[in-house]
Symmetry: C2
DNA sequence: GTAGTTCTTGAACCAGAGGTCAAATACGTG
DNA sequence: CACGTATTTGACCTCTGGTTCAAGAACTAC
């Protein structure tokens, strides 16, 4: 039945994610997206319907991949404070080491589409909540490990860390690595 | 000499600032900018040269106005913690009360142009540093007032507050007022 | 009034955006 | 092999963006 798909849809979404991440939603043209995926514009529209829907898929992928990574990274050996500090540093360092500073797709999207596009807003909110939950779980574990004072409100701290993380991503776009690292140290000192 | 200007240049910049603030740099068309300023497109180009130059003027105005406001607000009576908390709350509340959530022009610009446009990046950096200096000065005063422990590093805390503020601006785009207020309380608790 | 200068304006320009479509292509089935 | 179906493609369409420009309008100096 019918001609078989000549490309992997998930791979195309992954490529699209890179483009959106680098250039933003409005800044990514169908032509670029199609070229990055190695297919024609027509195929892209046939497979995904619209640029907006493709973006939705890209956001979803970003969320899943990010959460999987965070879960694994936070579980590695070390104290809570050490792990959280390493996590924050890694995220900004990846950006500093990259050829082009693109920040975080979720943060970028929050600013570009937050409040204007209901679906995108909700998707970003879900992604942030998911990461906050992972951090909260890690802090709770820290309490069991005797790492973190029992009086600490894990959820509150986790949410605040997500706010801080967003701020770090923004700051990393305009300041240098040392400045951002210093801010991270201040942030985790409070834990 | 020649026909007199029929509009106030500074007022036009102020209107442009509003448009850029609401729609972003790329999202603001010359047509919109001209209409907001109440002049023709040609006049706009005659007076400002290009969209980019007009944006530079708008950023400059935003910086000046923001710094003037912060200076006055932080100097009002109250403890350091109270004033800083009120400052952060005011900034996000203005956004929540506005018909459309537009965040902070400096943060928006950091994300949209940071790393891509050298001039814009530097302008935002200057604006952030200026605000950080005002906060640091307020914290130093707090030390004199006996408000803030003498051991606190005012510069470090001020920089961290700016990171937090950026994060709050991002968060305010996707979460509700209560969530953001809670984050502010967590932030100032550390002071 | 004429000249010279500066400002204003809408029309016009080109490039690129987002999206559609008819034709061509590759499969399974009878 | 003919046929129905699903996919691919680049040409094509319309709309808007950022910018330029020629013409006119308002002023000063002579």
């Amino acid at each position: 039945m019918g001609r078989p798909k000549q490309f992997d849809e998930e791979a195309a979404v992954a490529q699209a994610m890179e483009v959106f991440w680098t250039n933003g939603y409005a800044g990514s043209s169908p032509a670029e997206l199609a070229e990055a995926a190695g297919i024609g514009k027509g195929s892209l529209y046939h497979a995904f319907g619209s640029k907006r829907e493709l973006f939705g898929r890209a956001l979803e992928l970003y969320d899943r991949a990010g959460a999987a990574f965070a879960e694994e990274f936070l579980a590695a050996p070390g104290s809570t404070k050490e792990r959280v500090r390493a996590y924050l540093r890694l995220l900004v360092d990846v950006d500093f080491d990259a050829p082009v500073r693109r920040g975080c797709l979720a943060v970028n999207t929050a600013l570009e589409l937050g409040g204007r596009d209901e679906g995108a807003t909700a998707a970003v909110r879900r992604a942030v909540e998911r990461s906050a939950d992972l951090l909260a779980a890690r802090i709770e574990r820290g309490k069991l490990d005797g790492d973190v004072p029992a009086a600490v409100d894990a959820t509150e701290q986790a949410r605040f860390l997500m706010v801080t993380l967003a701020g770090l991503r923004v700051t990393a776009r305009i300041f240098d690595r040392e400045t951002v690292h210093a801010a991270i140290d201040t942030a985790v000192a409070h834990l």
